[in-house]
């Protein structure tokens, strides 16, 4: 007798599945691609669908899920621009999430990772690789239409600025921005959380946002920002104005 499947659908996204395990639940995404795995991840069958393990240690998007981020995932049918796709690990998951009616335009500048990205893209029907520098969006404006969201995972000091330039050119009304921020590529000597707060503040005039969500222990000194184009609802992004520690915390203690 076959064992009952442990995979449970989620109400967040039709392609996202969870499987309760001993310590914590694991995330799985129904896939459009074909084997071999893009980065050695496990493939499994969940009630007749092929799913791939969405590992928080490998993907910052999965880490955000594991850290309890409750924002919207890239939705089915949407077009997304993915900056810093590297070898296509997370990009392939975003492609799975937007489904066959959606598109992911994956921009990567570095040649060797791009070679791997290209071989992943050949197996994913909706992942489109573009060899270009995200700092120069005019180099790929001829190939990328307007998009519903931009996912940014480029470990660069001017990451926020790069996102802003791309958003000006590509992001639709009320478009989304998901940013994985690597504090140690911005500047050493400043607390990582401070970098994340500054990034949110820099975007607060144009975007409503959730975050910064710390991605530790999966990714050290990384933060995740979930933004939506539009005026702030009231008082700017939610968790920024709220003190991170209670009253009497280090920040507010009189010197």
């Amino acid at each position: 007798m076959p064992r009952p499947s442990l995979f449970r659908p989620t109400d967040r996204h039709p392609s996202l599945w969870v499987r309760p395990e001993e310590r914590y639940p694991t995330f799985w995404v129904e896939t459009l691609g074909s084997l071999p795995p893009t980065h050695g991840e496990r493939w499994s069958a969940a009630r007749g669908r092929t799913v791939r393990h969405f590992d928080p240690y490998r993907s910052k998007l999965a880490a955000a899920l594991a850290r309890g981020w409750e924002g919207e995932l890239p939705a089915s049918g949407e077009r997304w621009l993915y900056l810093g796709a590297a070898s296509g690990t997370t990009a392939s998951f975003v492609a799975d999430l937007v489904g066959s009616a959606g598109r992911v335009y994956a921009v990567e500048k570095s040649l060797r990772p791009f070679g791997r990205l290209l071989s992943v893209a050949e197996r994913w029907p909706n992942l489109l690789p573009i060899l270009a520098d995200a700092r120069r969006p005019r180099d790929y404006v001829d190939f990328v239409p307007n998009v519903a969201g931009i996912y940014v995972d480029i470990s660069q000091p001017d990451q926020v600025e790069i996102f802003r330039e791309n958003a000006a050119l590509f992001l639709e009304e009320r478009g989304r921005g998901l940013i994985a921020l690597k504090a140690s590529s911005i500047e050493r000597g400043i607390p990582p959380a401070e970098h994340a707060r500054r990034a949110v503040d820099a975007l607060a005039t144009e975007y409503r946002g959730v975050g910064p969500i710390p991605l530790s222990p999966f990714h050290r000194a990384h933060y995740f920002l979930d933004l939506r184009l539009g005026p702030p609802s009231s008082g700017g992004p939610k968790s920024v104005r709220r003190p991170t520690r209670g009253p009497g915390s280090r920040g507010s203690r009189p010197q």
């Binding site: 598109r103 040649l111 290209l118 893209a121 180099d139 404006v141 001829d142 050119l169």
Partner: protein
Amino acid sequence: MAAALVLGAGPRLLIRDPGALGWQILLWDPDPSGGEATLPVGAVQILAGLPASVEIEVGSERLRRAVERTGRRARLADSATIRKARGSIPVPTDGRERRYLLALARARLEVALRDPDEVLIALAREEERVERALGREQNAALEFGRGSDASVAAYSGRWTRFRELFDQHHHELSAELERAAQQVLPNLTQVVGFRAAARLLALAGSRAALARMRSARLQLLGSKRRPSPDRGPKYGVLYRAERMEELPPSRRGAYARSLAALAVIAARADGTTRSSVGTELRRRRDRRVEALKRGMHA
């Protein structure tokens, strides 16, 4: 007043003529060679039909060059104009876009990898991998049982032959790497040797990046530990520089420091003027090695 707008959309070309309604969508002869692109005949006709008073705005530099080759002036549209204009165009979802972008990606990657810097980087990485694999095999062979069992002996013979072939493969690869390094980095190769020179380039990413590097950074390229004031690493891939092995371990840090100072000069010559400074730097290097061997601390 109103300008015509020309935008690329993957394999398509979109033209909005202020005199006409809506967009004209043409198939833009996909030129996924990664190089320059020419406008399709239909587009040239549409542009030629525009009165001279109508300005032409384009989305990208590539398109601007293509339009200007037809004899019309064009200027770059600003980001907001492009984004708003494209909001009104349905994006076709046929397979053409994917085929186009995959072909373009392959072409661009191939062009980029043909660069001599990239060829040398590829060889350097491969040589390092093969060297490590060879070392692993040879190490394992030392521990492999030397029993007299017939099947083990037969296996051992086959394995030895394999290692000899592998060793030969490594030699051939090294020779190829040396040729490439001497061509791309003639000065640096003279100062640190071809293996270290090629690995330095692979770590820096490009000749330009290597030429911009400071001596202290170059000295530590490829080191695994984190630099720190008290007990940081003394060298990275410079460990594999020529003449490093002749020195006692206590003098190697000093040699790496001096060598890095000479190597940046060579790297800058290789990255910019291509002038030949290697012989002189090599002489200074050898003088330094002799001094270190005599135990001088200066």
